[in-house]
């Protein structure tokens, strides 16, 4: 069995071994899956406490274990655990919100901060494939463009904040973000794995 205290598993575990319940393969998988699930559970929209996010990430991994027969690659397993963790984090946040706040008197209280469901309602299979494709698309971007794109679309920083953080003019940030978007789209279009759903979605 792999000893996690002595080394960090770098290789992706064999999917067949995972499906067969091989303990060493799962040990290596947990090293890969845990930080992914944890990061997904730390969804900024959910704003969970650290301990809550850990619980959610752990639950996501347990669900993945139970569904491993449905997984087609380790990439897919990673994407699926991130989807499960992210959705459960938002679900958890909604439960917290409902428990803590009094009943609303007007519609202004609607959960504008926390979407009820993902704004895309692609199936989980399609969503996992899209995540894997996007991950590969990020690889074609230079580091600064990728960072700026994610700080803008993921972290929600303003262009001014990104400009100050990176010490570059605001116009440069905007052109980097726009060109990063174009490159991501071009990569997704060229991918042989691109499904019709994705093309429809990105139109």
């Amino acid at each position: 069995m792999h000893d996690p205290t002595k080394s960090t598993p770098q290789d992706f575990p064999d999917l067949g071994a995972l499906k067969a319940g091989d303990e060493a393969a799962w040990q290596a998988a947990f090293w890969h899956l845990w930080p992914i699930a944890l990061r997904a559970a730390q969804n900024p929209q959910a704003r969970l406490e650290d301990a809550e996010a850990e619980d959610v990430a752990s639950e996501a991994i347990e669900i993945l274990i139970s569904k491993i027969e449905q997984v087609t690659s380790f990439d897919h397993a990673e994407a699926l655990v991130s989807v499960i963790a992210s959705r459960r984090a938002i679900s958890h946040a909604r439960s917290n919100s409902a428990a803590k706040r009094p009943p609303p008197n007007n519609r202004d209280f609607a959960l504008a901060e926390i979407p009820a469901v993902s704004s895309t309602n692609m199936t989980d299979i399609d969503l996992c494939e899209m995540i894997v494709l996007l991950r590969r698309a990020f690889d074609v971007l230079d580091v600064s463009t990728r960072l700026m794109l994610l700080e803008k679309t993921g972290d929600g920083l303003t262009y001014n904040q990104i400009s100050k953080k990176h010490g570059v003019p605001l116009g440069t940030v905007c052109t980097n973000v726009a060109r990063g978007l174009k490159k991501v789209r071009a990569h997704l279009q060229e991918s042989p794995l691109l499904m019709k759903e994705l093309r429809e979605y990105l139109r």
């Binding site: 996690p4 960090t8 770098q10 319940g21 303990e23 799962w26 040990q27 090293w31 845990w34 930080p35 992914i36 990061r39 997904a40 752990s58 991994i61 347990e62 274990i65 990673e78 994407a79 699926l80 991130s82 959705r87 459960r88 938002i90 909604r94 439960s95 409902a98 519609r107 209280f109 609607a110 979407p115 009820a116 469901v117 704004s119 895309t120 309602n121 989980d124 299979i125 995540i131 996007l134 991950r135 990020f138 794109l149 994610l150 679309t153 993921g154 303003t158 262009y159 116009g171 905007c174 052109t175 973000v177 726009a178 978007l181 174009k182 991501v184 789209r185 429809e200 990105l202 139109r203």
Partner: protein, 409 residues
């Protein structure tokens, strides 16, 4: 690219407008440029769609690049226990496969082994499309009777099929001269037309693969229909919040420009609906205090959704905005025909919708939940529901359909 705007200027303005950080003058400048240049409009539309996709799933894609890290030991122990429990459960499941066979045959261990070997050979010959060798209850095909007399002969006894039936490997099918039916196999759907004397289902299935059968494009949907029932629990890939209101139609893509709005409404409660065009600033379509289902044409007479549109549907329990579901759905560029009224046609349509690409889960569920009991309680309808509910993560509906399927065994 238009002559009046440089690429740099377009990039800067587009990035600002997408982020909602443009000044009024900048937004106007971009709007004017877009109004004059179709190519620029197309480019901006693509940027906007990519922006939306990145905002939704970009952070998750980035999360996949997180370097490996050691999990807390107590979590590791818990997960390893879960793996061990699952492995043990599967071993028990496999062992239980033999129990009814042993009881029924009342034979020696040698004969039991022979029985398993025979099962394996049959599975290998007839069920070669599946990877599992433990299948004992997987359907081989489904027969949907559409018109006149359709019979299935099993163990020498012929039975008329009134609605839909599940077929086994040795079953034979007969159609009277005016009869018609649809045979659904792992190779796709094949229309059958009488007259036809009793023919083994395997022969007809093979013909479906070689001739004009509708190819099953979705492997996942095929799995839902032809896997042993105990393996179907894996179709529930994830779960959504138990608090949100399950919406059945429209979800994902719809080919209907006046779709039925269908959700799980609870007795005594009413709901507020709104449908907003994501590509337009027009006021949303709204209805307050309604219950499921809502016919679009009754709710908004004379109105239709646009082709190739993107819409946001919001359903809130009247007076309780905490109980709210919000989702987006798309209309196809080429809308399809409305669902047929005949239940047999409707069931086949649901199958074809779910196995098409893109899979229109909402349109299919709209058909499946409106079937009469003799069709709704069939293996075919229940398995299609399992697939759809599993894809949507509706655990309660999934478990209900699974229980009904199990009760039929």
């Amino acid at each position: 690219m238009g002559t009046e705007m440089t690429e740099d200027e377009f990039d800067i303005l587009a990035a600002k407008v997408l982020a909602g950080e443009a000044t009024a003058d900048e937004a106007t400048r971009l709007q004017e440029a877009l109004a004059q240049d179709a190519e620029l409009r197309a480019e901006f539309a693509e940027l906007r769609a990519t922006w939306a996709a990145l905002k939704d799933v970009g952070p998750l894609a980035q999360a996949l690049n997180t370097p490996p890290a050691e999990p807390p030991p107590e979590r590791l122990r818990k997960w390893h226990a879960a793996v061990a429990r699952k492995r043990k459960h599967e071993e028990v499941d496999f062992a239980q496969v033999g129990a009814p066979v042993r009881k029924k045959l009342r034979v020696s261990q040698l004969c039991l082994a022979a029985a398993f070997l025979a099962t394996a050979i049959i599975a290998g010959v007839f069920l070669s499309h599946r990877s599992s060798g433990t299948a004992t209850s997987a359907p081989i095909a489904y027969l949907v009777a559409r018109k006149d007399t359709v019979e299935v002969r099993r163990d020498g006894k012929a039975t008329a099929v009134k609605s839909v039936t599940t077929l086994c490997v040795a079953d034979e099918i007969r159609l009277s001269p005016q009869a018609s039916a649809t045979l659904i196999t792992p190779n796709g759907a094949r229309p059958l037309q009488g007259p036809q004397e009793f023919v083994n289902v395997q022969v007809l299935s093979s013909a479906a693969a070689a001739t004009n059968g509708t190819e099953t494009k979705s492997r996942a949907a095929g799995t839902a229909l032809f896997q042993p029932s105990r393996q179907l629990l894996g179709l529930l890939v994830t779960m959504r919040s138990g608090q949100s209101i399950p919406v059945y139609s429209p979800v994902g893509f719809t080919a209907n420009l006046t779709p039925m709005i269908l959700w799980k409404s609870e007795p005594g409660k009413s709901y507020d609906l709104s449908i907003m065009d994501e590509f337009s600033t027009a006021a949303p379509l709204r209805r307050a205090g309604v219950v499921s289902p809502v016919e679009f044409t009754n709710a908004w007479p004379g109105r239709t959704l646009a082709k190739d549109g993107l819409y946001r549907l919001r359903i809130a329990e009247n007076g309780k905005p905490l109980t709210t579901t919000e989702l987006t759905f798309r209309t196809l560029p080429q809308p399809g025909e409305t669902l047929p009224a005949d239940p047999a046609d409707k069931l086949v349509a649901a199958y074809e919708i779910l196995t098409a690409n893109p899979s229109r889960l909402g349109d299919a569920l709209g058909a499946l939940v409106s079937l009469p009991p003799e069709f709704a309680d069939s293996d075919l309808a229940l398995r299609l529901k399992l697939f759809a509910f599993g894809q949507l993560g509706y655990q309660e509906d999934f478990e209900s359909a699974a229980a009904r399927l199990e009760a039929r065994r």
